[in-house]
Amino acid sequence: MLASYLTLAAILFCVGLYGVLAKRNTVVVLLSIELMLNAANVNLVAFSKYGVVPSLSGHMFALFSIAVGAAEAAVGIAILIMLYRARGTVNVDDYDELRG
């Protein structure tokens, strides 16, 4: 069973990573980050149930992670809205103020 969960988590993570690296829309990038975060959460829960030493700490860790992820998403979306107001675009490519 563990292998299936881990495979699912890996697929989720890769989809998220692809979204982060390849998508041009910043909202989608944020969504993809959440996907990667949740892939990690799936792993935590899976190891907590089917790992070598099952315990509840994995569940708790996953809950913490979801809470922190929610806060992060809220802050990220807030920043993104301000950025959109300032620049009039959500295209990642246009956010290149740090260009050398």
């Binding site: 690296l21 390849a22 956010y95």
Partner: protein, 624 residues
């Protein structure tokens, strides 16, 4: 005998130095005042020199020297001081006398030049340096002033620096004499190293080399003497370093008279006379000096025959006469060399100042465009004629006696040099009569309507100079060795008179003048047919045996070629390496800039890639 003025000998160069400082402070101020300052300062030096000289007239006058410690670094002790001997007092007299007259003459000659004040400043600086050179009591002090006169020569040859030829001549004069100076410096260093007590003053040199104690081995003595002679040859325009002197005629004519005829170019002769003991200790060095001098005498005289420029004729004549002096010294006749130096200083200064007077009036230096000036410039013509007779060695003018002294020594010592000297004397008389008859007699060949006699400031020095040009020969005649006794402290008794030599030297002088008269005044000898028969020879002589061309092709172009090679190396190899380093850093920076594009996703991708590389390398490390 009283030596009050002798003790004040250090004051002699200070008059012109003060004048130089005042004139420099004046900038381009009052030109008439500048001329008077220069003249009065040199007059002060002259008066003091006369007083010093009179103190030394007695045969018992002791050499006087005084100085102070200049530098002392451990065992290295250098002093700076002055020394009055019979030789230096005589040189003081000659230098200051010519200096006074040239200053006075320049007051007229340079009247219309707006940088006349600067000119008198330079002349004063030159007089200071030359007097310092004469007075110096050691070789190092002499060397310092030796370089200073070189600088003054450079400044004054290039005085009209807007003329490209004057600039080139100034540079040439400086560089060619520098070659000699390098030899002199090497000689001085070598001498310092070899001297038992590591001193350079002339008194010690005399003691060491006269002692015959073998303190310095023979080969080393020859080397030192030859190196000193290289310096003297550079300054005195001896072959093969003579090329700068004719070009130096680009300077104002009073300068040609003062520096490039009477005083500075004689410094080489003076240097050898001052270090004569070193030369006497080495027969090889003496022979070198004698043969180079004799060769230069005849070599330059032949060139002078084919020159068309009035000042260049006199310049080659100067080279030739300096060769005579060197020959005399090389033959062991200190008296002959110095005697000719003195008489030559007077009559050659007279000739140059006369030439300047003509050039000032005619505004050309080409003798083919002159002629018939006699009717318009009586004083100049007569005085120039006297100078020409003195140079040609016609008795009883001064040049005859000094030339006779040299030829007589040569007759006794080396017949070959006697023959060379006699031939040079003939050529001298010939080119001087050519010059005189072309310029002063016959019909005017150019437009000479505006020509009139020069002002008194210019004719007075000419008139004054005729006196020593005629009479200065009488201080040393076959019957009366006053100068020889006086210079050598009563030991030298050569030049006892030889009728044959006197007759021969007078005869070639008269013959030369007669042929010149036939060719250039009477026209009996048709010179066109002669020159048409040997055009190659005329061109060869006119170009000065192509020595200048040769030097240009070999040294100037050679050095330029080497420079070009090094420039390429510098540009492509050294500069290329520098550019490579800079370019590499720049390229690296450009690459970095491209990476730093502000795209978060690119950063992420690169981070991912880095992570993968890390993982793969960690996973795969077991296989290697």
């Amino acid at each position: 005998m009283d030596t009050i003025f002798t003790q004040l000998g250090w004051l002699v160069p200070l008059f012109p130095l003060a004048a130089f400082l005042i004139l420099t402070a004046m900038g381009r101020g009052n030109r008439t005042l500048a001329a008077w300052i220069g003249t009065l300062a040199s007059l002060g030096s002259f008066a003091l020199s006369v007083l010093i000289w009179t103190e030394r007239l007695g045969s018992d006058a002791l050499d006087y020297s005084d100085g102070f410690r200049w530098l002392s670094a451990g065992p290295l002790q250098l002093t700076l001081g002055f020394e009055i001997t019979n030789l230096t007092s005589l040189m003081l007299l000659v230098v200051t006398a010519v200096s006074v007259l040239v200053n006075l003459y320049s007051a007229g000659y340079m009247k219309d030049d707006e940088r006349a004040t600067v000119f008198f400043g330079y002349v004063a600086l030159f007089a200071f340096s030359m007097l310092g050179l004469v007075l110096a009591d050691n070789l190092l002090g002499l060397y310092v002033f030796w370089e200073l006169v070189g600088v003054c020569s450079f400044l004054l040859v290039g005085f009209w620096y807007t003329k490209p030829s004057a600039r080139a001549a100034a540079k040439k004069a400086f560089i060619v004499t520098r070659i000699g100076d390098a030899g002199l410096l090497l000689g001085i260093i070598l001498l310092y190293w070899q001297m038992p007590s590591h001193t350079l003053d002339f008194a010690s040199i005399q003691n060491v080399f006269q002692g015959q104690g073998g303190a310095i081995e023979a080969g080393m003595t020859t080397l030192i003497a030859l190196l000193i002679f290289v310096g003297a040859a550079g300054k005195s325009g001896q072959f093969p370093l003579h090329v700068w002197l004719p070009d130096a005629m680009e300077g104002p004519t009073p300068i040609s008279a003062l520096i490039h005829a009477a005083t500075m170019v004689a410094a080489g002769v003076f240097l050898i006379a001052r270090t004569f003991d070193i030369f006497e200790a080495s027969q090889a060095a003496m022979d070198t000096v004698a043969y180079i001098g004799g060769f230069t005498a005849i070599f330059a005289a032949t060139i002078a025959v084919a020159q068309q420029d009035m000042k260049r004729i006199l310049a080659y004549s100067t080279v030739s006469q300096l060769g005579y002096m060197m020959m005399a010294l090389g033959l062991g006749s200190l008296t002959g060399g110095i005697f000719h130096l003195v008489t030559h200083a007077f009559f050659k200064a007279l000739l140059f100042l006369g030439a300047g007077s003509v050039i000032h009036a005619v505004h050309t230096q080409d003798i083919r465009q002159m002629g018939g000036i006699w009717r318009r410039m009586r004083v100049t013509s007569v005085t120039f004629g006297i100078g020409a007779l003195a140079l040609s060695g016609i008795p009883p003018f001064s040049g005859f006696w000094s030339k006779d002294a040299i030829l007589h020594t040569a007759f006794q010592e080396k017949p070959l040099l006697f023959a060379l000297g006699l031939a040079a004397a003939f050529l001298t008389a010939f080119y001087m009569s050519r010059l005189f008859f072309s310029v002063f007699t016959g019909k005017a060949r150019g437009n000479l309507g505006h020509v009139k006699e020069s002002p008194w400031t210019m004719t007075l020095p000419l008139a004054v100079l005729t006196v020593p040009a005629v009479l200065s020969g009488l201080i040393e005649t076959p019957w009366n060795n006053t100068l020889g006794h006086w210079l050598s402290g009563g030991t030298e008794t050569t030049h006892t008179g030889g009728g044959l030599v006197m007759v021969a030297s007078a005869a070639v002088g008269v013959l030369g003048i007669y042929i010149g008269w036939l060719a250039y005044a009477k026209g009996t000898i048709n010179r066109e047919t002669i020159t048409a028969r040997v055009p190659g020879l005329v061109r060869l002589l006119g170009e000065g045996y192509y020595v200048d061309r040769l030097y240009n092709a070999v040294f100037v172009q050679g050095v330029r070629g080497i420079g070009r090679v090094f420039a390429i190396i510098d540009d492509h190899i050294v500069g290329g390496a520098v550019r490579l380093v800079g370019g590499a850093a720049l390229l690296l920076g450009r690459g970095g800039t491209r990476l730093h594009n502000g795209q978060v996703q690119t950063y992420g991708l690169i981070t991912l890639f880095g992570l993968l590389v890390l993982l793969v390398s960690i996973a795969g490390r077991g296989w290697w």
